[in-house]
């Protein structure tokens, strides 16, 4: 496949059972892998916002966006242009940190403004928040010391405030 690219979809849905399964199955049916997914209640608690990062080409993405719109519980979809969006993600990682390495590991965490949330005799659990690229960097740098367990939240994103947000997907709704 050519031109595979991260696309960020921000999908406002009714906060009800089964909605996530409906959304996810539109991707699964086409054999597309969801790169990351974050769901939680939105500004009104009857609604949830789903941030989906998916690697697809432009044409099938347009089709999926239109199909997503057809889901009765989907209220709004925007595709966020990374240049016009604020993106954040959180990582929790337990890293090997024996006596010999501990200093280096702590230093690295401090440089990247991570927080140490638990300390064991030969491991440290760290939390780090920021742009997903920064989290990638952290993962790369810390990996040589040994990552025991790792969990990322998946990215969340909102349009930037300053300018008119460029949302490529359609507004409104359909049948």
């Amino acid at each position: 496949m050519s031109e595979l690219q991260h696309h960020i979809l921000s999908v406002l849905v009714e906060n009800r059972p089964g909605v996530l399964a409906r959304v996810a199955s539109l991707f699964a049916r086409r054999g597309f892998n969801i790169f990351s997914l974050a769901v939680a209640p939105a500004e009104e608690d009857t609604m949830s916002r789903i941030t989906i990062v998916v690697d697809v080409e432009r044409t099938p993405l347009e089709q999926i966006v239109k199909q997503l719109f057809k889901l009765v519980e989907v209220i709004k979809i925007s595709e966020l242009d990374p240049r016009q969006a604020v993106e954040r993600e959180l990582i929790l990682a337990t890293v090997r940190a024996g006596a010999a390495d501990r200093g280096h590991v702590v230093e690295l965490i401090q440089i990247l403004e991570g927080k140490i949330v638990a300390v064991g005799s030969d491991a440290i659990t760290v939390s780090l928040e920021g742009h997903p690229d920064k989290l990638d960097d952290f993962e790369d740098l810390i990996r040589p010391y040994g990552i025991l367990e790792l969990q990322r939240t998946g990215r969340i994103a909102l349009p930037k405030l300053d300018r008119d947000v460029r949302t490529s997907a359609v507004k409104g709704n359909i049948g």
């Binding site: 009714e14 399964a21 009765v72």
Partner: protein
Amino acid sequence: MKLTGAQALIKALEMENVEVMFGLPGGCILPAYDPLLDSSIRHILVRHEQGAGHMAEGYAHVTGRPGVAMVTSGPAATNMVTPLCDAFMDSIPMVCITGQVPTTAIGTDAFQECDTVGITRSVTKHNELVMSAQDLPMVIRQAFYLASTGRPGPVLVDVPKDVLTNTMDWYWPTDAEVVDSLPGYRPVTKGHPKMIKEAAKLLLSCERPVLYVGGGILKARAAEALRELAELTQIPVVTTLMARGAFPDSHPLNLGMPGMHGTAAAITAMQKSDLLIALGARFDDRITGKVSTFAPEAKIIHVDIDPAEQGKVRRPDVPIVGDCRLVIEELIKVIKDLLGAGEVQADVGPWRSRVSGWREQFPLAYEPSEPGEALKPQFCLEKLRDLAPKGTILVSGVGQHQMWSSQYWQFEEPYTWVNSGGLGTMGFSIPAAIGAKVGHPEKTVWAIDGDGCFQMTAQELVTASVERIPIKVAILNNSYLGMVRQWQEMFYEERYSEVYLSPEVPDFVKWAEAMGCVGIRVDSPEEVEPAIEKANSINDRSVVVDFRVDAREKVFPMVPAGFSNDDLLLPPSQNETRRFLG
């Protein structure tokens, strides 16, 4: 007013003006069958739940109202998957109620439990598991609203047994409350005025336009508007398999059906056109053939109520999202205004003579049988057509007989053709014909079936007999899975693999009789007319005519799957004049 969930369910169906439903009871749905005894709703007890689903579809096809099916949980719900998918593919409004194990047992692998909403999620427009009896009126109203508005489709409501037995306070939501309860569902019905104007201008400027009419025209009840548009602009019309009857076959502008087994005129007109006006059509692969070579010079105006159809297969030059009837009516107004203001339409006269030439030179054709030779299926259809009472509804199964039905019948009125287009469901015709007859008891309903298809759902003729729903069935019996045999003959070097049924068993006449029907067997051409006349004269029970037809007969024209529409195969008798298709 306190009601049980079951009472509320039945009352809600009554409030939705449901006059008939198709179903079969079982453990989890049992509570709902009790208040049904006191209801005005007629229930038709089927012999297999798939039958209930296709009956609901047949009913919806001919009446335009949602068909309703009610069945129990587990195996009954899974038996419903095929009709749901069929209705989803062909945009048939349908509401299906399934029983479910009690809420407390969900997820425990209880007896006859299955994840019905999970299984049917991708074959319904929407589905809902009801967790409280209090929600039932709203959920039922939503189901009917969703099934019948926008792009119609099937909606499933899954109701656990305890939800049926618990009590609730009755209420009936207003239209506004229903709309408010579905904030994500706002179908667009009115086309964008700017787009309509653009379409009008483009339409007037093109010299080789074709109106490419799909099933959406019928869903939008737009047949009259279509006729006005065609006659105003003198643009030739092709009607897809799902749109047969939307435009009279006798009309001089009608070129017939396009697609894999379409007429040479319809296929070629689309290929050579400079503008396709797609109305409620979805550029299905059976229509386009190889997409990259489909109608290469044509600009596209695409009118569809479903925005997801725009650009799905072919990028439109003028996309119009809206209800076909409203959009066409608007389009006619704008065209008249433009013409009134001095704009002139490009001369479509030469194009019309060209396509008429194709139509005359390449009619549907088959070799009639010589005396003593086997009966031709096309001949049977011609006779069925010529002897059919006015307004007859034709229903078909899936296979060669379906294509011949669509080709050789003369459709003059909308809603007289019922078939399974998108899913191509063998076994569709008998139950769908029963549903159609229930919808229009005053009309004659002929089901054309293959011997393969018939054996999938024939037991519903028992339902027809017991419920006194007299239909007529013509089996075009070639002892083969004929359509598959045709592909094996043409594309697998006549290596016939698992397509031969049996000329001896079943004995269709005896089988028909055992189900309470009249059975007639026809072997030779002379017997055809008397048999059809006899069948047409019997109206107190169903009739099955077993036409023993030539197994070697193939459906032509044909565009082999994956080929370009330019490479259509003509009936052998027309091969010599092929060069005139230019």
